[in-house]
Every structure is written in structure tokens, then in C-alpha cells.
């Protein structure tokens, strides 16, 4: 099958409403969004806390957060597999080869990106914001909400990058989810499988969905961000 034929076949699959294909898309979106929703609050809080406070070992915390960005997802998958397997400490949860397992994986995969980007955004913010808030009598909580509001473009960028990482990762979802048809098959694990079987049409179709999803999600988040300032100022 040529690439052109495979692509034509892919569009035919997409527009014919192939149930198996759309179920795969649904599993991917659902697990990514839930994983991201669970990871965002603790990651943002932790990123903020590391950025704003001086404490022993702070540099090590920053270093580890940045290192975690380059952790291969298969390694995260392996560790989770061991934790979640029947004899592992989290075995009783019975999350292995389930969507809950994939969500746990997305949580762990997304966390470092969200944390490191939030940390960088808060660190880069003008310290006068926090100082002014404190000088005007804001509580610690209000200082935090004020600072995160001022750093919102950076925090949004963290969420966009986090989504990109969790929707596109394949290693962890494959190992922890198990790529079970109709259960834990995600866009990326399906593409890997279909390609290995020589079924390029479905792989391409899913690839198109993945790219479209990335465009839509990034577009939506950009709209949410509002009009960010350009670095060179405005005319």
C-alpha cells in the first residue's frame, strides 16, 4: 500500500465513524485530561513553593525537577508497572492494565513538565509583584493567587506542554495500560501496534486525530490566555 492509498483509507475510516477508532480517541482524551487535571494543582503549588521560598536543598529540588523533564516515559512505565503489579505495593488497587493505571501514568508523566514550567514562570516574574502584595497586607494565600495570576501566561504554557507530553507519550501507556482493545488502547499505543502489523491506514488516521487534537487544545488554551504581550512591545 502506498502512502497516498493509506492516507485515503485513513480519511475514509475517520469519516465512516469507525467505532473502534473513535473509542481509542476517546480513551486517549479522557485519560490525558483526567491525568492532567489531577497533576496540575499539586504541580503548580509545588512549583510556586519552590520558586518563592528559600530552604536548604532548594537548588537540588530545582535540579531534580528539571531532570525529571527528561525521564523516559518507558522508565516511568516500568516503575509504575512494578508498583502496580499484583505483588507490588500498590497491587491491591488493581490498576494495572486499566484506564486508572493509564491515568496514574499520565499523572506521573505530566507532573514534571507542569512543575518545572510553573517554577520557571514564577521565578521569572518580577519580584515586585509578590513584594507589593505583601506590603499591602496580603495573606500568604492571596500573595500566591496574585503571583500565579501575574504568571498566568507561563502557567498556561505549562499546562499546554503538559498536555502535549501526556497525549503523545507511548511508553508508559503501553506498559501500564497493556494496549487492550476497547479498554486501554490509546492513540499512540494503537499507532505503534497498527504499524507493527503493517496496517498503516489506521495508524495514519489516528495520527491525523492526534495532530488535530494538538491544534485544537493549543488553540483553546491560547484563547484562554487572552492577548499575551509580545516581547518587543506593541505598536
Amino acid at each position: 500500500m502506498t502512502l497516498w492509498e493509506a492516507t485515503q483509507h485513513a480519511f475514509a475510516l475517520l469519516f465512516s465513524g469507525d467505532a473502534a477508532l473513535w473509542h481509542i480517541v476517546w480513551v486517549s482524551i479522557k485519560t490525558s485530561i483526567i491525568g492532567l487535571l489531577l497533576a496540575t494543582p499539586p504541580a503548580v503549588l509545588l512549583g510556586y513553593a519552590i520558586a518563592m521560598n528559600r530552604f536548604p536543598g532548594r537548588r537540588i529540588a530545582v535540579w531534580l525537577a528539571q531532570c525529571a523533564l527528561s525521564l523516559p516515559t518507558v522508565l516511568i512505565g516500568l516503575l509504575l508497572y512494578l508498583l502496580l503489579s499484583r505483588r507490588g505495593p500498590l497491587g491491591p488497587l488493581e490498576w494495572l492494565f486499566s484506564q486508572s493505571g493509564i491515568i496514574a501514568g499520565q499523572f506521573v508523566v505530566g507532573m514534571p513538565v507542569l512543575l518545572a514550567f510553573t517554577l520557571a514562570a514564577v521565578q521569572a516574574l518580577d519580584p515586585r509583584y509578590a513584594e507589593t502584595a505583601r506590603a499591602l497586607g496580603a495573606s500568604r494565600w492571596r500573595v500566591m493567587t496574585t503571583v500565579l495570576h501575574e504568571a498566568r501566561y507561563g502557567v498556561m504554557a505549562a499546562v499546554i506542554s503538559g498536555f502535549g507530553r501526556v497525549i503523545s507519550e507511548v511508553g508508559c501507556a503501553l506498559m501500564v495500560g497493556g494496549n487492550i482493545q476497547g479498554e486501554t488502547r490509546t492513540i499512540t499505543t494503537a499507532i505503534a501496534l497498527e504499524t507493527s502489523k503493517g496496517e498503516f491506514a489506521q495508524g495514519i488516521a489516528l495520527g491525523i486525530v492526534l495532530v488535530t487534537l494538538a491544534l485544537v487544545m493549543n488553540g483553546a488554551l491560547m484563547l484562554l490566555q487572552g492577548e499575551a504581550h509580545t516581547a518587543g512591545g506593541r505598536i
Binding site: R128, Y129, A133, A135, L136, G137, S139, R142, E150, H229
Partner: protein
């Protein structure tokens, strides 16, 4: 005149270098001071320490007759003392919300916040900026909004870090004109500035930070007295 703030044995070090060691100084209630000194002598640092934004070693602090520690910075001082940056930064909300910020943080009722903020906008002459994006204000406008933002809290002590630096002409006069009314409302005002642009307000006392020490010079009318 009663003492508002007395500080004894204030030392600030940057690493190995001693920035200043001040034996004692007192600020009176409802009085105005200019704090002068060369660049880098520690004027801003001194104000930031008093405003609870920077740490320092201190033997004793008495505010309104009561003793306090500076670390951790006590809530009573946080409510009574407000520090304003040399280049105030505006929260990217609205001019109105910037001025309301401290009142909202104190949990004041909506009616009180609205009334106080409206008054302060008129006082600072920034009413026309109501719908302007805070980031687009000029230096003088930002300084006036920052003064309004501090004034609504009715601080006992207001610390202004070079309020007229980099302002000239009417912008500078606009800011200076606001300061006497702050003193009239019972606030003590300390303004850091350079000798050359010493703010010529009547009755202002001078504090000079030089060689790590603080000299107090009463205002000119005292000098002229027999």
C-alpha cells in the same frame, strides 16, 4: 511630638560587607522625613527592612510604645507600615482593583471598599484612568496609583522609595503635591531621595545615611531658631 517608631542597633550585611550599622533612630508620629544619601548607601534597603521585605539584625524595635521583633515580621507592623517601590508595579487587573487590593486583602466590606477607592482615585487624580490597562500607565500615573493604593490602608508609616526619581515637570509636581495630605491624615512619611532632588516640602526633617551611619538633621526652622 510622640515617637512612632524607635529602632536600636540595626545592622545590615551583604555577605561579608557591612552596609550600615545604625545605633538608634526615632521617627515621630505624623511627621515627614527625607532620607538622603549617595547611591548604594542602603537607603532602599533601610526602607525595605522597615517595611518587612528584607531581613536584618536588630536589637530592639518599638512601634507605638510596644516592643516588636522584625523576624518574623509582625502582623501589627504589616498593617501599620506600607512600603512603596521606586518604580511601583501594577497588578494586571485594573486601576480600580489595584487601589482596592489592600482593602480586599483585609476583608473590608464591598461598600467600604467602593467608597474608599472612589475617594482615593479622586485624591490621586487618576479617575480618568479607570478603564486604562494598568501596564499602559506612565511613570507619574503609576506612582500616583501606587500612592492611592497605599493611602487607602491609612498606614501609620508610609515608606516611599524615591517617589519622584525619573519623573520630571508636572509628573513630579503631581506626586509631590499629594504628600502633604498624607501627612495631614496622620501618617508619618519617609521618602528616600538624593540630596540634589531634596523634596522641598515645609517642615520636612532630614535623615542622612552616610558611611553606614544615620544622621538626623531637624528641619530648617529649627536651625534658624535662636
Amino acid at each position: 511630638m510622640s515617637a512612632l517608631l524607635t529602632v536600636r542597633g540595626l545592622r545590615k550585611q551583604h555577605g561579608e560587607r557591612l552596609l550600615f550599622a545604625i545605633d538608634e533612630f526615632t521617627l515621630d508620629a505624623a511627621s515627614a522625613y527625607v532620607l538622603t544619601g549617595a547611591n548604594g548607601v542602603g537607603k532602599s534597603t533601610l526602607l525595605r527592612i522597615l517595611g518587612g521585605l528584607e531581613a536584618a539584625q536588630v536589637d530592639s524595635v518599638t512601634f507605638d510604645g510596644k516592643p516588636f521583633n522584625l523576624q518574623p515580621y509582625p502582623k501589627a507592623l504589616r498593617t501599620a507600615i506600607v512600603y512603596v517601590h521606586q518604580h511601583p508595579i501594577m497588578f494586571s487587573t485594573s486601576v480600580w482593583h489595584n487601589i482596592a487590593y489592600g482593602l480586599l486583602a483585609r476583608g473590608e466590606s464591598k461598600a467600604v471598599v467602593k467608597k474608599t477607592v472612589e475617594e482615593a482615585m479622586c485624591w490621586a487624580g487618576v479617575d480618568y484612568l479607570r478603564d486604562t490597562e494598568p501596564a499602559r500607565l506612565s511613570g507619574g500615573e503609576k506612582q500616583r496609583v501606587a500612592l492611592a493604593r497605599a493611602r487607602v490602608l491609612q498606614p501609620r508609616l508610609l515608606l516611599l522609595d524615591e517617589p519622584t526619581a525619573n519623573l520630571d515637570g508636572s509628573a513630579r509636581e503631581g506626586v509631590i503635591a499629594l504628600i502633604p495630605t498624607l501627612i495631614e491624615q496622620g501618617s508619618t512619611v519617609v521618602m528616600a531621595c538624593h540630596d540634589r532632588d531634596l523634596i522641598g516640602l515645609p517642615g520636612v526633617q532630614r535623615l542622612k545615611l552616610k558611611d553606614g551611619r544615620l544622621e538626623h538633621r531637624p528641619h530648617r526652622t529649627d536651625d534658624a531658631a535662636p
